[in-house]
């Protein structure tokens, strides 16, 4: 079947950058599967419950770098209870046993404890990079362990984690002989670090290229740091994000000066009421006409018009990520009082490479018809307070061939939509539905038909673990999370999570 010696095939596979390509070639034939699995160095697991860690490491004995994601995205907005799951420990323990050569670990939305970090720090002699994104459960004590035991650490990147400050001067735990740091990001930490310790650390790491500090670092200290790290490429206090008090005028200035802008995020400064200084559709139109390279947008605003969206779609056909959040649910186009179906329809029609989309405002089933028709590259869709009927969700499931993640809240989609094409969910990573019309009966039916899906119901009412038998199938389910898995029902689910 293979005309080349294995070494040649393996060498060819070296040129495959993405894990998707490697997954694809490993399904061609047994020989290729075998070659590929032995040569894969970077392993990506999009859902920590889709497969057991031992199985991953048995398949890829040469694993050097592991990336795992845990909680569903809506956990970012407090929709997932605190102890839902997503524990890092099983992955770290399995790696300790089977992949002691591990060099890089990246975890997103997972629970990581200080003990986990301590185990990690002591177990992998070649460890060089730790990236934690939106994780929780650890403190500066865990960071101290990493600093102490990971000799040769090149990267420590902490992005938007909830880290408890135990006052430990963790930065001092980097040994004097540690000179290998290339990237250090502690912007999300609330506590202070000793300025002298930081300056000395920077001074002895000649390869340091990226440094992201927290706000506790003083300007004087910054001066010292910059003086000692002339090769720094990236210096900051975390990600740059714009608050909407910049106003439409401010955005117009950005539009006229930042011609190379590729990604823009505008957050609301006043979440509790319509601010006098906030942004509207005008700011977005200005940005779209001034920044032709814009491909990624997150925009919070109080109003949006179809005309503006149509203009934006024409100006910026290169969007890969388009997330628009109109702060009042169901808000129509204020000029025409129409739903925003046509505006979003224009976006999906024009932006052929759109991979991620978040909708808001007043929307009918029509917008989902458009999305199903045109958004062929779409991989992730977030819907809230939208649609009229099951038809909306069916349009999406039928039309979006590349859909991987679908998350829906407060929409009138029920069992008919859920059960319309159950096989679809095995082609996706996950489906989240909360405050919709799906019933317990519908969820049970889905679970019965699809053994390779975990259908989890999150139920936070008190005392319901006793009432499980008494609840009628007609009852609407508050939160449902469905994901494909080869690992079966998980064994670490808390009481309030029922796997059907």
């Amino acid at each position: 079947m293979t005309y080349f010696p294995e070494e040649v095939v393996e060498h060819i596979f070296d040129f495959l950058g993405s894990h998707r390509d490697r997954n694809a070639v490993s399904t061609v034939c047994k020989a290729w599967y075998h070659v590929e699995r032995l040569s894969r160095l970077n392993v990506f697991v999009g859902n920590c419950y889709a497969i057991r860690p031992e199985r991953v490491m048995a398949r890829f004995p040469g694993m050097k770098s592991l990336s795992v994601k845990g909680k569903p995205h809506f956990a970012d907005y407090n929709l997932v209870p605190y102890d839902w799951g997503g524990f890092a420990l099983p992955w770290i323990k399995a790696a300790v046993r089977r992949s002691p050569g591990l060099e890089d670990l990246r975890l997103k939305r997972m629970v990581v404890t200080d003990d986990d970090l301590d185990l990690l720090a002591r177990s992998f002699p070649n460890f060089r990079s730790l990236v934690l994104v939106s994780c929780e459960g650890f403190s500066t004590d865990g960071l101290a362990a990493i600093a102490t035991y990971c000799r040769g650490l090149r990267e420590l990147d902490l992005q938007e984690n909830e880290v408890e400050d135990h006052g430990r001067q963790w930065l001092s735990c980097f040994h004097e002989s540690c000179t290998s740091l290339v990237s250090l990001n502690f912007a999300c930490l609330k506590g202070e670090v000793n300025a002298g310790v930081l300056e000395r650390l920077v001074a002895r790491c000649p390869n340091l290229r990226s440094l992201k500090l927290n706000r506790a670092v003083s300007v004087e200290s910054l001066n010292e740091i910059v003086a000692r790290a002339p090769y720094l490429v990236d210096l900051g206090t975390g990600s740059f994000a714009v608050l909407d008090c910049i106003g439409d005028k401010g955005l117009a200035v950005v539009a006229s000066t930042c011609k190379e802008l590729q990604e823009l995020r505008v957050f609301p400064s006043d979440i509790y009421g319509a601010g006098a200084t906030s942004v509207t559709e005008e700011g977005l139109v200005a940005i779209s006409s001034g920044c032709p390279k814009l491909n990624s947008l997150l925009y919070f605003c109080y109003q949006m018009t179809n005309a503006a969206l149509i203009t934006v779609a024409k100006n910026c056909p290169h969007f890969t990520r388009f997330r628009l959040c109109i702060l009042d649910p169901w808000k129509p186009d204020p000029v025409t009082n129409q739903p925003l179906d046509e505006g979003f329809g224009a976006i999906v029609r024009s932006c052929k490479n759109l991979r991620r989309l978040s909708l808001s405002g007043l929307l009918t089933d029509q917008v989902f018809l458009y999305i199903g028709l045109y958004a062929k590259c779409l991989e992730m869709l977030s819907i809230a307070f939208a649609g009229d009927s099951d038809k909306g969700m069916v349009y999406i499931l039928k039309g979006c061939k590349n859909l991987r993640k679908l998350e829906i809240r407060d929409c009138p989609f029920g069992d008919i939509a859920l059960l319309n094409d159950v096989a679809k969910y095995e082609t996706m990573r996950s489906l989240w539905m909360s405050s919709c019309d799906v019933t317990l009966g519908g969820c049970k039916a889905l679970a019965a038909k699809m053994p390779r899906l975990n259908v989890e119901i999150i139920n936070e009412s008190e005392g319901t673990d006793k009432l499980e038998e008494n609840i009628s199938d007609l009852h609407k389910v508050e939160k449902m999370y469905v994901y494909r898995t080869v690992a079966g029902p998980r064994n670490d689910a808390p009481d309030f999570v029922w796997t059907l």
């Binding site: 994000a241 649910p329 307070f385 407060d410 317990l440």
Partner: protein
């Protein structure tokens, strides 16, 4: 959408007693616009400035409470859980923008106020008056004061912040 926030057992459709619910429902619709789509909008009883009827509440499918999440009681909360979709991490960053320092000439230390805690200027002024009145009406009870009973000197806990200003401890929440 589960409508259990109201906490009542939903009426079933058969419980209509002579009233035509369709007629008595309040709806939100544009003048002369089509009513059919907009009528069916589910209730958002917490109302971020809107008050819509909850059609689902009126035509609930059962009289037992559905399995719903804890769902905040509608009257108590001004916000819906998880909306707008801003990470709490970022909300806290945004929140810190609303503290401002207040200095009054002649007072030995400054105060910090959270502008978000006040609904308007009048309330803010009243609060500021109360905060600084202890320097004029010396009988104002302030539990943060320590009195040395020997010589009657009063003490308050203060700190010097990074701008070099003396601030009264306690205005900014500990966390």
């Amino acid at each position: 959408m589960s409508t259990t926030e109201t906490g009542n057992s939903s009426t079933t459709e058969s419980a209509v007693s002579g009233l035509d619910y369709e007629e008595t429902q309040l709806t939100l619709a544009p003048p002369g616009g089509s009513r059919s789509e907009l009528e069916r909008k589910r209730g958002f009883s917490e109302g971020v400035g809107l008050s819509l009827e909850t059609k689902d509440f009126l035509s609930g499918s059962s009289d037992e409470p559905p399995i719903s999440g804890a769902g905040e009681p509608s009257a108590a909360k001004a916000q819906v859980v998880g909306w707008p979709p801003v990470r709490s991490f970022r909300r806290n960053v945004l929140k810190s923008c609303t503290y401002v320092k207040v200095a009054v000439d002649g007072t030995p230390y400054l105060r910090k106020v959270d502008l978000e805690a006040y609904a308007g200027y009048q309330q803010l002024l009243t609060a500021l008056e109360e905060m600084f009145s202890c320097f004029t009406a010396r009988n104002y009870p302030n539990e943060r004061r320590l009195v040395d009973h020997v010589n009657g000197t009063e003490y308050v806990p203060t700190y010097e912040d990074k701008d070099g200003d003396w601030m009264l401890i306690g205005d900014v929440p500990w966390k």
